[in-house]
Symmetry: C2
Subunit: 425 residues, 2 copies
């Protein structure tokens, strides 16, 4: 087949954008061998075309005029690597409307406006791919959409934030939350303002995208139940260790009886579980479905180069499948209900501080029993005249477990509100 030149446009030419250009140049032969096409960046939108760049674009490629890129008939596919909601969102809409395929690395944009953008792409008969918007180089979107088409994925478990995973791995080796945060900042994993990571906001946006793709129904960032790691204490980490588990910030997307629940929170993960092995700043996503049982993908979930490889993979896939029906359709093809959070069920771990007096244990266990919540494991430890209770609870609906704990908290012997985490085995 004769090789055809395909003109690529870039929105943004920073670390990711210039790496994409470099990979397209240096990998041109590999790409041609795989697809029969040569991909070449012909336009790149930047604020200041005169600024020095790590991998310079060709003459006349950089422009500060979006219309020049949009209206260039040589631009067939555009990679959006500028980030942010606006103007990136408007640009992507305009490009799709103009019949250009788009590849986006923009987590915020896809998590917020994905459904509209997929529909716009469908209507225009062009592709929108977004592998790089979640977990960088880990090809989880492609695997979900192309390899697991008939696998009825019903659960997605993800460690999708490297910063918090680094911090929790660090706390496992001893040290407080504050120590772990300081170390993550020293390594450059955490920003000076770590809010987006430690509150689970970053992970929630990624889980919204993954759940949307896995279940074919729109899940917005706002639909994700979210709890961060800020309240975690060294005592929780060591209690987990005593149970043969680690604490991780885990995203859990569940499809149950046609309803969807997506949540991000710290969870106890059994040491023998594949997610427990994800150490440091890496990410991993486990996909559970019929027939496949479970497939786990692990790798670097962030970084400019890593993100650029996913953008290039998407460009290659767009070029390699244009003209066929492959992935022609909207990733959101149905509207599933949201599972009422109280109905979401799991095994749980609860950590309580109580006065060391007769009757406390009886009270705690009777309240649990009244809610039909059964105790799998119980450890009581003395602690300065008080005691800590660590409970592992058999699978039960969150509503029942929370209800029991609310009643338990009202008991005067309970010194602090119980700390509740799901358990993943």
């Amino acid at each position: 087949m004769a090789s055809v030149d395909v003109g690529i446009g870039l929105l943004g030419y920073g670390t990711v954008g210039s790496s994409v250009n470099r990979m397209l140049v240096e990998g041109a032969d590999e790409i041609e061998r795989a697809t029969g096409h040569r991909l070449r960046v012909v336009r790149a939108l930047v604020r200041d075309p005169k600024k020095d760049r790590p991998f310079p674009a060709g003459d006349g490629v950089l422009t500060s005029d979006f219309a020049a890129l949009r209206d260039d008939p040589d631009v067939h596919v555009v990679a959006e690597v500028m980030g942010g909601i606006s103007p990136a969102g408007e640009y992507v809409r305009e490009l799709l409307g103009a019949g250009k395929a788009v590849v986006s690395a923009n987590k915020q944009l896809i998590a917020r406006d994905g459904a509209e953008l997929f529909a716009a792409a469908s209507a225009a008969g062009v592709q929108l791919r977004f592998e790089a918007s979640v977990c960088a180089a880990i090809p989880v979107v492609k695997v979900l959409r192309e390899s697991l088409v008939v696998s009825n994925v019903h659960r997605v478990l993800g460690i999708v934030n490297g910063t918090t995973n680094f911090m929790l791995s660090r706390m496992e080796r001893g040290g407080s939350y504050a120590d772990a945060l300081a170390e993550a900042q020293a390594h450059g994993y955490a920003e000076a303002d770590p809010t987006d990571d430690v509150t689970g906001a970053d992970a929630a946006a990624k889980m919204a995208i993954l759940a949307t793709v896995a279940f074919g129904s729109r899940v917005r960032y706002e639909d994700v139940e979210r709890r961060g790691i800020e309240e975690l204490e060294a005592a929780h980490v060591s209690a987990a260790a005593d149970l043969g588990m680690v604490i991780r910030l885990v995203g859990i997307a569940t499809l149950l009886d046609g309803a969807v629940d997506v949540r991000v929170q710290p969870a106890l993960v059994d040491r023998s579980h594949p997610l427990a092995a994800v150490d440091g700043a890496f990410n991993a996503v486990m996909l559970q479905g019929d027939a496949i049982r479970e497939i786990t993908l692990e790798g670097p979930g962030a970084g400019g180069l890593e993100t650029a490889t996913a953008v290039v993979a998407d460009l290659v896939s767009v070029v390699g499948t244009s003209g066929t029906g492959f992935l022609q359709n909207d990733a959101c093809w149905r509207e599933l209900d949201r599972l009422p959070p109280v109905e979401w069920s799991s095994e749980f771990f609860a950590h309580l501080e109580v006065s060391d007096r007769p009757g406390v244990l009886a009270h705690v266990t009777s309240r649990l029993a009244a809610h039909d919540v059964s105790v799998a494991q119980l450890v009581q430890r003395p602690a300065d005249g008080a005691a800590t209770l660590e409970l592992v609870l058999h699978r039960a609906p969150l509503g029942e477990v929370s209800g029991a704990l609310r009643e338990i908290s009202a008991f005067p012997e309970v010194l602090r509100p119980p700390f509740l985490l799901p358990v993943i085995r």
Copy 2:
């Protein structure tokens, strides 16, 4: 886009074939949504069309006449799920020659004749996909060929045999090789004749396919250096545990300075390495390359249903990309030299039994030093008037390490030939 019917042929209608049919029927809507096409099995080649089948094919679908399938103009893509070299190989060649795309689940055939079959597919302008030929449902071939096109993958580490991984996980918890084998047989993981698994033959065929795809150069089954797990003893497993490692049967494919080395052998794997977390009968493949650093895919590497999902994924991908240039070309596009095995370098672990006499340690260490092999760790243990020496050696070429150990073995104080394994961290 109007939906188009695509006729599918099956070579074989056993567990995998009938599961493929069932998935195509039950997943028809999902597939149409993803690709715009409806896939329907129109012919399936079997020995005895009258036999009862777990998921019956439609009327007139089963045939014992290959020509009827090959010459059926309604058959556009054929899934080869019959296994074996012959007649499967002849059938696949004829089908490609007749312009039918082929999806194969046949490890033996692809590991032996892959290069010729890829070339035949290229010449005929049709696709040959083979995801199911290696690690069942784990989409490693797709990820290598479509996501990592420009990632210059230079190393593939794989736990690609579930039987031996189950056995080694079992030995870790105590027990001999014989106990572990008996248990694997009781679970149905190991055949009555476990040769293909325990000698590394099965893993070598899979690594040959993975190395071929990863490096773009033909690696045959015979090109894979191979050593099984039969000589492993409980003492080796517990020595590994003392070093914070586990023993796994690992496939290692290396691209170094334009030369390829592929080997399968037991190796010590650090507990913090992602491959160490692969427990029981699961498989995992780690792909290391530029920019991606490392991506690990883990999941069930065997099983009829799991294999069927990979076949269906390939069918969907063939249909979704036919008519484009995607993956039009031969997976073997270059001819790389084989790295002389003596030049392959690694960290190593050596286990020796020696007489407990003065001078032994000096002899061992001086022979290693003479070959410029440096000792990272040394543990000596008394053992019934004799002693065991456990050595961890810094990275060195296999030729030097083997040379030193040969000289050490000649020393009369060495009671048994040293046992040498690579170390993976």
